[in-house]
């Protein structure tokens, strides 16, 4: 459909290209606006015009107390996201490999994961906080927050693993076994390296979904806020561009994570294709 026989593109191509560009504008323009406004001059407000260019609102974030403990929430969210990413990778890679075979009870676990994915986040958070309350334990982002976030990142990671494993050619594994590798050796030295780009993808999902999680964390984080909870609080009580400054910083963190993850995937793929080319 892309090209007609003569090589000329149909008019729909141009119409759809325009549509695509409009969609990207819709997607990115509002975000760009708040990055620009986060450099608002000292006396400026939440909208244009800009009264100047300054980094005042970023300084305000660092000064503890003026708009809450932003630095503390940042560290907390980054730590939590890192732990969630590691657990998500370990659990999902293992489960993804396990699900390649039909086994009794497997369907139940799979449907539980899907149910966990579509369940309203606040419902899960309510349940976890009720349990902690009934048992007389205090909620804490390190335990109840972490566990509740996993009910969101694990199903996602599992679906990504299914997509990755679906494209995996099992004959490599069989070849390893024919050459005398044990099951564990085959997994460690053949399967996992081949799946590595997908595994990095799972880590990316685990990290970013945790880093931005709100509905599941709001009732389970305990007394110390994670970053999205802090931003949520700011939307109601901060009416300065400091709010946008947080947005700019947190997006920068997300972009760094995305670039590192996608960059390493691209690097691995390129090295592989070079190896493949060299061996021919």
């Amino acid at each position: 459909m892309a090209m007609t026989a003569s090589g000329r593109r149909p008019w729909t191509y141009y119409a759809l290209t325009l549509f695509f560009i409009l969609f990207l504008t819709f997607l990115y323009a509002p975000m760009l606006v708040i990055y620009i406004l986060s450099f608002q001059g000292p006396g400026g407000g939440l909208t244009f015009p800009m009264t100047g260019v300054s980094t005042r609102w970023f300084h305000e974030l660092v000064e503890r107390g003026r708009s809450g403990d932003i630095a503390g929430t940042f560290t907390r969210s980054l730590e939590l996201a890192a732990v969630v990413a590691v657990i998500t990778v370990a659990v999902c890679v293992s489960a993804g490999l396990g699900f390649r075979r039909r086994f009794p009870g497997g369907g139940v676990v799979f449907y539980m994961a899907i149910a966990s994915l579509v369940m309203p986040g606040l419902f899960v958070g309510l349940g976890v906080s009720l349990i902690f309350q009934l048992l007389g334990w205090g909620t804490d982002w390190r335990i109840s927050g972490l566990g509740t976030q996993l009910t969101w990142t694990l199903p996602f990671g599992l679906l990504v693993m299914f997509a990755v494993i679906g494209r995996f050619n099992r004959s490599y594994e069989e070849a390893a076994r024919d050459l005398g590798a044990s099951a564990w050796q085959g997994t460690r030295e053949v399967t996992l390296p081949i799946l590595l780009p997908g595994i990095i993808g799972v880590a990316l999902f685990g990290f970013t979904l945790s880093y931005d999680e709100f509905a599941r964390t709001v009732l389970t984080a305990g007394s110390e806020n994670t970053l999205p909870l802090e931003i949520w609080a700011m939307t109601t009580n901060v009416t300065s561009p400091a709010l946008y400054a947080v947005g700019t910083v947190t997006t920068l963190v997300s972009f760094t994570v995305i670039v590192v993850a996608l960059g390493s995937i691209a690097l691995i793929q390129r090295r592989r294709s070079r190896h493949a080319a060299a061996s021919h």
């Binding site: 729909t12 759809l16 899960v124 349940g127």
Partner: protein, 302 residues
């Protein structure tokens, strides 16, 4: 996994070989099952149980009463909240479906270079990996009374007065939802489209089908499972949302979950649990409905 084990290689352990395959699978899936049971399965059960409890100020009184459900079903607030949430779900579903389908169609069938295809796909999905709340807030300076959009309209002499309905309205809520959730619709549709055998489309073209006919008769039916998956994502996200409605409507609209959150904030756990269970049943019915619809159609086609 039960291939013959060569005995002349002694490296590594062969424990994995001796275990029954389904036990190996259980060991591999075990951690997932344990975490989901502890933090999802049991909490859901607890919410269901607590929804039948009584409460006294902020204390939960274990008993077995239907009062919480009677309250949910007899209050006209419930009906209004559900109608409002369902209205948003329907509008957002329709818009994201059209946009998601069009984008996927463009990426799959109109972009030839794989590299450009991946690049454009990533361009669409990068915002998904950034903060939802920040993406929502970013509409405020855009749509506000003195916002960018109004300024542009006035500068272009399209209106003389700023449009008031842009921000803190149902319109703003829909815009934010579409901004946040279109990707959820696009990715599953993209996946099922990418799996369509190009030879089918070639054959249709050779048989004289127009582009529109190909889209309607071949691409659309073959994307049904992707559309169903995307619909489930979008509908459950909208039904489960509470902060977009709260912020973007400026407090004028409420959603089922924002009302639920108010009950939780007032420490009225049993009524909150009853509302939550009701919501989940409604959402599950919608999901079941979508799945049934798609399966029925699949039977009709094949």
């Amino acid at each position: 996994m039960a291939g013959p084990q060569p005995t002349f290689f002694k490296t590594g352990t062969s424990i994995g070989m001796k275990l029954p395959p389904s036990l190996v699978s259980w060991l591999q899936v075990g951690p997932l099952a344990v975490i989901l049971t502890l933090f999802f399965g049991i909490p859901v059960l607890v919410v269901i149980i607590v929804s039948f409890f009584d409460f006294d100020h902020s204390d939960i009184v274990p008993t077995f009463i239907f009062d919480n459900y009677v309250d949910v079903f007899t209050s006209d607030v419930t009906m209004r909240l559900y109608l409002s949430s369902l209205k948003f779900a329907a509008i957002v579903w329709a818009i994201t479906l059209v946009i998601g389908f069009t984008l996927a169609n463009y990426l799959v069938f109109h972009i030839n270079s794989l590299l450009i295809k991946i690049g454009l796909f990533l361009l669409c999905s990068v915002p998904f990996w950034t903060s939802t709340i920040i993406r929502m807030i970013s509409w405020i300076p855009f749509l506000g009374r003195n916002g960018l959009f109004n300024t542009m309209l006035i500068d272009a002499h399209i209106t003389s007065k700023p449009l008031e309905f842009l921000l803190f309205s149902d319109f703003a809520v829909v815009v934010a939802y579409v901004h946040l959730f279109t990707l959820f619709m696009m990715v599953p549709i993209f996946n099922s489209m990418a799996r369509i055998d190009p030879r089918i489309i070639e054959a249709a073209k050779d048989a004289g089908a127009s582009r529109f006919a190909i889209l309607r008769e071949i691409v659309l039916p073959l994307c049904k499972s992707g559309i169903a998956l995307g619909s489930i994502f979008v509908v459950t996200q909208v039904m489960g949302d509470f902060f977009v409605v709260k912020v973007m409507s400026g407090g004028q609209s409420a959603s089922v979950v924002s009302a639920l959150q108010n009950e939780i904030a007032a420490l009225q756990y049993p009524p909150a649990a009853a509302s939550a269970v009701t919501l989940v049943i409604v959402v599950m019915l919608m999901v079941a409905g979508i799945l049934r619809l798609v399966d029925v159609r699949k039977e009709l086609v094949s």
